[in-house]
């Protein structure tokens, strides 16, 4: 039996970049055992809000677990104001994560989408291409640089690394060949382009999708995304069937 929601103590909460924060949580054995790249915690961010917020696990270290997130609204703003010693009411880890079997693997991250990919790099040596809007928005650069063999960075405005979209870096890597799989996380337009590229180069792509959630455990069916499986198109649950899906199965919105 899983436990219900549990309280985890905040070890550290700090700003990483413009509007991006990092929280280290003390976690119990059960949570650490269930933590896997691509899985997420469903976090209560009160102040009158009813729904939990899903945040991917960014990495683990000893008995600690890290979240890296961008402030988007009330919930993440509340989260960014936690301090050492505060406790967070969390449910999870939830969802099904990245499949890290086979290799070599390439990680492709856009913006805050880099967070869950770091956990992949921690579990298995991979290459990585990461794109950010600007240098001010970039996070986890040193972590990726040390965890990955060939980590390459770009920014939309050229203030960090090359001036390029991350999908351009991805295409170059695909062109040079050799990857047995790509794992991507980032804004939907990026994932859609990545899906096209990986299809063209016949490299299996896994993507981590986002959708607004209710229960987070698979019971309420609000977090749907469109999937084709066994030739049938239908809705899958981001919270349980995902958040990581094979890109070849995802029906992209237009």
């Amino acid at each position: 039996m899983k436990s219900g929601s549990v309280f985890c103590e905040v070890e550290e909460c700090s700003g990483l970049a413009e509007n991006v924060f990092s929280i280290w949580l003390k976690a119990d054995r059960e949570i650490l055992a269930a933590a896997q790249p691509g899985r997420f915690l469903h976090i209560l961010c009160p102040e009158g809000s009813l729904l939990r917020r899903p945040i991917s696990i960014c990495q683990t270290q000893g008995d600690m677990l890290r979240l890296v997130f961008e402030v988007k609204g009330e919930g993440t703003r509340w989260l960014s104001r936690r301090r050492r010693g505060d406790s967070l009411d969390i449910l999870g880890p939830l969802g099904s994560g990245f499949d890290l079997s086979g290799g070599p693997l390439l990680l492709a991250g856009g913006g805050i989408g880099a967070a869950p990919l770091l956990f992949c790099a921690q579990m298995k040596r991979c290459d990585a291409v990461l794109g950010f809007a600007s240098g001010q928005k970039a996070v986890l650069l040193s972590e990726f640089a040390s965890a990955c063999d060939g980590a390459e960075f770009s920014s939309d405005d050229g203030s960090l690394g090359r001036r390029a979209y991350v999908t351009e870096l991805l295409e170059e890597r695909l062109r040079s060949g050799g990857y047995k799989g790509v794992l991507a996380c980032g804004p939907e337009p990026m994932l859609r382009i990545a899906a096209g590229l990986c299809r063209d180069y016949s490299v299996p792509l896994q993507v981590s999708l986002e959708q607004r959630m209710g229960c987070g455990v698979g019971a309420c069916l609000v977090c749907s995304c469109r999937i084709v499986k066994d030739n049938r198109e239908g809705y899958a649950r981001v919270c349980r069937d995902g958040p990581v899906f094979r890109a070849s199965e995802v029906v992209w919105d237009d």
Partner: protein, 304 residues
């Protein structure tokens, strides 16, 4: 000795707490968090004759103290439910309530027959889903149509029939009475209130479906009022729901006259919410030297 059990339309519930349709799927997911046998009963996700895909996302929006959903009855269809889900649920010692939505009285009857034959404990007839165009809510806002659906289901069902009422009406009592007169064995209320949110920056509705059903603590005072009005007007038992999220809310429902109390949206915050209500109620009755729900049910203390 505290006794939380309830005889509801002839069916014995081990305790008065159930989980609301659509918030609990078919129980598989939450069964990982607690033993489903701790619940008085489970209302399963709304079923239709054919499998349904539901509405496109975004399907949920937050509101102050509540949520809007526009799932639109995504479900595998009644046959798949009976074949694949019911056997799983039967592995637990709890009552199983099938929730059905049809486009016509005949569809309701068809499903009721199948479910009755499959040995479901109670059939909950959803005439109040605000998220689908055909059927659903139309039946729940007109006493004559509600009665018609009730009769259609009653004709074929050998298990008790409970009609789930919509709060989106001028006079819920007239609909409740029409269902009772048409033979309903029980009533459940409330379903969600029709609501809407707009992204103030872009002017886009948050829900792809534009409108959705409001549930959660925000609607509790409305639900409680309606449960009280209906319980004061009919003699069939009532399952009260709408924003119940803790023991206090469940007790208020009992005072107002509900025999069973259901929690839905509260589970999203705390998967163990329903179980905590069972425990909290036990403590309340013990501390107040009461036997159980029967000591307070419908005993609202009016001022003179």
């Amino acid at each position: 000795m505290i006794d939380l059990s309830v005889n509801f339309a002839g069916v014995r519930f081990k305790n008065f707490v159930t989980v609301a349709s659509g918030t609990f799927g078919f129980g598989r997911e939450y069964s990982e968090y607690f033993d489903l046998s701790r619940l008085g009963g489970i209302c399963v996700k709304g079923l239709t004759v054919q499998p349904r895909d539901g509405n496109p996302p975004v399907r949920i929006a937050e509101t102050p103290g509540g949520i809007l959903n526009s799932v639109g009855l995504q479900n595998p269809g009644v046959d798949a439910f009976i074949k694949t889900e019911l056997p799983f649920l039967r592995g637990y010692d709890t009552r199983i309530i099938a929730n059905i939505s049809g486009n016509t009285p005949a569809e309701y009857a068809l499903m009721a027959k199948k479910l009755s034959d499959a040995g479901i404990d109670i059939i909950e007839v959803n005439v109040s889903c605000p998220n689908v165009k055909a059927g659903g809510i139309a039946f729940g806002t007109d006493p004559c149509l509600a009665a018609e659906v009730t009769r259609a289901v009653k004709t074929v069902s050998e298990v008790p029939v409970m009609i789930k009422l919509s709060p989106n009406v001028t006079d819920i009592v007239s609909i409740a009475r029409a269902c009772e007169d048409a033979g309903a064995d029980a009533l459940s209320l409330i379903n969600t209130l029709l609501g809407m949110r707009i992204d103030p920056r872009t002017g886009r509705p948050v829900l792809k479906n534009i409108t959705g059903g409001l549930s959660g603590p925000a609607i509790f005072p409305i639900a409680l009022r309606m449960v009280w009005q209906v319980c004061s007007a009919v003699s069939v038992p009532v399952m009260g729901m709408g924003g119940v999220s803790d023991t206090e809310g469940a007790l208020e429902m009992l005072w107002a006259g509900a025999s069973l109390v259901s929690a839905g949206t509260a589970l999203f915050k705390d998967p163990l919410a329903a179980v905590s209500i069972v425990e909290g109620a036990e403590t309340f009755f013990r501390e107040n030297n009461m036997k159980g729900p029967c000591d307070i049910r419908g005993k609202l203390k009016l001022y003179d």
